[in-house]
Subunit: 201 residues, 2 copies
């Protein structure tokens, strides 16, 4: 998925990637009727999408109850790292507000986020009928991995993102993690505990 008017030529980007995920949603989905599951997910994602667009991010795709967004690609964006962290902060806050099913019952779909910044390849693949934006690179894998580090409704960022946003956020160090398939590569990561200026302006 892309916003309109963008160049579809493959390119090497340097940008910030967010992976978000509703905690425990697979289990939730197994206990509720499909109509309700999709209705609630739809409401939730509608809010999440809006918050990505508010910070000029691009939705890459939905993955089950997950969402992947990109800041700073395919088009460059000033302060992409801070915009991504701010978007994730608001997405997390929004996810802690209840969404209503068609009967007015309320459910909270708390979400956690992983954020990484770095290079990746971006382009369109597939047949004409099934063309799709795709992203290839360790930055994307790292964001997906960080999303799962705590399993809670947290925002976890990598070092490159941290270095760019550290004046604007409060963080707690989570120490080091390893990436699947790259056990000899140590990744330092941080949990974002607050935005210093909630308006972010």
């Amino acid at each position: 998925m892309m916003r309109e008017g963008q160049d579809s030529k493959p390119k090497l980007c340097h940008a910030t990637v967010i992976f978000g995920d509703i905690r425990g949603f697979t289990s939730f989905a197994s206990k509720h009727p499909p109509g309700r599951v999709i209705h609630l997910l739809d409401r939730h994602l509608e809010n999440q999408i809006r918050l990505v667009f508010d910070e000029e991010g691009t939705i890459d795709k939905f993955l089950g109850d997950g969402i992947m967004a990109i800041f700073g690609a395919p088009q460059a964006l000033d302060n992409a790292e801070l915009r991504a962290v701010r978007a994730a902060w608001r997405m997390r806050e929004a996810s802690c507000q209840p969404v209503r099913d068609e009967e007015g019952n309320e459910y909270v779909l708390r979400s956690g986020f992983g954020i990484a910044t770095g290079p990746f390849v971006l382009g369109f693949v597939g047949s004409r009928r099934l063309s799709s934006l795709t992203t290839i690179g360790d930055t994307v894998n790292l964001a997906a991995r960080l999303q799962g580090v705590t399993g809670d409704a947290d925002i976890i960022i990598d070092r490159t993102t941290y270095e760019k946003v550290k004046e604007f956020v409060e963080v707690e160090s989570l120490g080091q993690v390893t990436l699947k398939g790259k056990e000899n590569e140590i990744i330092h990561c941080w949990r974002v505990t607050a935005l210093k200026d909630a308006s972010g302006e």
Copy 2:
């Protein structure tokens, strides 16, 4: 992504899910120019998509160099499990044939596959501009997990799939694995080593 004319109402499906992935592609992509990476991936996925359609499967989405396909949903399909295994077998074989870049250089993008059968919720989510098919359920998570069990260009299937296809394939037991976040749940899985009748008819 869906094939035309299908019902978009949320439903609880019982179907077979394939996750495929090119082994080592992230690393490959970091060493080649973006144009070549996307060109080769495009050629590869074009072949993979065709083989999914040949067995009447549906492409759910592309995930970087990965592909997710569904057999038996949104519309029922006779022998969905066997069709999925047969498709994966041919997708794996196709992935062992070289694809050419624009200068005629050849590269082999060997792929591995995870296959699981069971219930999941299927529906459309997102805003009108970004509507997307989505799938929620342990069956989907299991197929994704099985895809990574060996890290080789293998086809790994779960018990439900195995029970339905065992007369038609040769397998090797891989014993038990656990699912991330469900470490107390033991999953038995098998590697498909041959189709008994390569024509599958």
